[in-house]
């Protein structure tokens, strides 16, 4: 898959103020991600992977440099516009799933659609469709506490897909799962990517990184290696 980059990062720095010297979490990262790519960002803990993902997802802003997603310079968007941009263009999956415990699986998936003012009937239908897609149609009315970790993560993936984002960002999505359920998530990401979804994952999980088509290695806030992997059959 090729074409105009969907994600463009140019000389992005992210510094966190600290008494004494600031922490340089990301130092001059530049990268492009084209539509349909499946990118894994790997590196040791504290190397700036999650910070970079937050910059890519417009939930944080670079101290200097720029981030452009789908042609929109998100690093300069005011908070309200950035929030709306995340709602309609970006799907997030987190290590700890972070489903709202008071809502059922279906309601969790409906939440971003409700925020996007999707009509009730339409969002119900879409939520059921997504639950079916992640193999949890029978668990629609269950609350997160009644689901296993793997099921919760699949609901979180369905929630991330609710508003048909242009890119799916995942931060250690298999970090809290055992090998089998982690494998289910990897398979789900693979399927999504085959269907055209652009995916960027931050991971320590070699299996997940190995499933990606491109792996970016980071160290001390910098990209030290950016390598495409061979496409599997």
């Amino acid at each position: 898959m090729s074409g105009q980059p969907i994600l463009l990062v140019r000389d992005a720095h992210r510094d966190y103020p600290r008494s004494g010297d600031p922490v340089h979490a990301v130092r001059g990262v530049s990268l492009d991600v084209t539509p349909g790519e499946y990118v894994a960002i790997v590196g040791p803990s504290g190397c700036g992977k999650s910070t970079l993902l937050n910059l890519l997802g417009a939930i944080d802003r670079p101290t200097t440099g720029s981030v452009t997603i789908g042609g929109t310079a998100v690093s300069t968007l005011p908070d309200k516009a950035a929030t709306h941009f995340r709602l309609t263009n970006i799907g997030f999956v987190f290590q700890r799933f972070y489903l709202l415990p008071v809502l059922t699986a279906q309601e969790n998936i409906e939440l971003p659609m409700a925020e996007a003012k999707v009509r009730l009937t339409e969002r119900r239908e879409r939520a059921r469709e997504l639950l079916g897609y992640v193999g949890l149609a029978a668990r629609a009315d269950h609350r997160p506490a009644e689901l296993s970790g793997g099921e919760q993560q699949r609901v979180a993936i369905a929630r991330a897909l609710a508003n048909r984002p242009i890119v799916l960002l995942a931060d250690e999505p298999t970090g809290e799962l055992d090998a089998r359920t982690g494998g289910d998530v990897i398979a789900l990401f693979d399927r999504l990517n085959r269907e055209g979804m652009t995916i960027v994952v931050v991971t320590h999980d070699e299996k997940l990184a190995g499933a990606a088509r491109r792996v970016i290695h980071m160290l001390d806030g910098r990209v030290i290696r950016d390598e495409p992997l061979l496409r599997r059959a």
Binding site: S50, R96, P112, A114, E115
Partner: protein, 394 residues
Amino acid sequence: MRFQLAALSLRRHASRTLLAALGVAVSAAMLLDMVMLATGMRQSFASLLGRNGFTVRVSPRGTLPFDTEATIGQARAATAAISRIPGVTAVAPVLGTTVHVLGGRDAVTAFALGVDPAVQGDYQVLEGVDPVGNALVASDALLRATGARIGDTLDVAVGFDPQLRTYTGRRRVAVSGRARFTYLSADDRAAGLPLATVQAMGGADRADRVSLFMVRTAPNVDPEAARVAIERALPRVTALSTAGAVAEAENRLSYFRQLAFILGAVSLIVGFLLVTTIVTVSVNERIGEIAIMRAIGVSRIHVVEQIVIEGIALSLAGAAVGLVLGVFTARWLNSILRGFPGLPDAIDFFLFQPNSAFRALALLVASGIAAGIYPAWRAASLPISATLREEAVG
């Protein structure tokens, strides 16, 4: 979905929510009671004075009605002079005195009002007829104390000479009726007699004298203007309009209002702090959830709205329960305070006035909204990535 989320968040810790709502209810009840106390006495006093349409009270110069035993002389001429003032529609002269009902082992002492039954506003006849000549209407307490019934004749005196140990101004008076006295308590022994009878029993000291004139004015006439005209026509009297009397009463009872204001403000602050505490605790527990909502695109204002809705729900539930609790508490306290001897039956310390009550409760709900805004805005404004990182570490 904000309402659903707010309701579910409150249900998540049902017992805490219930206790918080009860706390707000107690605070609301106290606020309501204080509002009722602050306005109740003034309103019920004004309503008491306004009964029967009398708008001006005329008493001896420098005194308030029945504050002293002073009387106004040349009562007939004064009545005529007041009646001539434009706008005055009726003048009711009243002479108050102590009477002794003799005949039993001990004399029964009572308060008697000499009035003109045709225009008086001091009592309502409950049974029997107005007194004419040597007759009286008596309160239930006096009838009980003397054992008299309507139609009986009583031996009544208006004075007692301690040196001679004899009663003076004695007269045999028939009981013509049973009455409720507007400005006296139900336990007061009281009698109403024709003014001429009381004056005659009092001898030369009471001849053509009254304690008070009650003046009725036409509806389109400002009682204050009539009051000024009366004082101008009769320099030896003090005239007091109902508004003036209420202001005077308010002045004398200002400590009640101050107490009510302070306790009401304390209740409001307690309610505010309670909602703030509960909402803050609830928000702090959900910092991660709030950060995730923000991350997936829920706007800051919607997060704030959801949390403020929780504050409003707590305040509304508390206000609703507090309304019921406050009314019951007020009734109970009112019954205690009305037991004070000598208070007119019609005086209420706690008067429920829907407008004041709902304004007070609206203030409480508004404070509940304000209480939710700060913690909500603070939570919704936390940096998302840093919060998620801390939550992940935590």
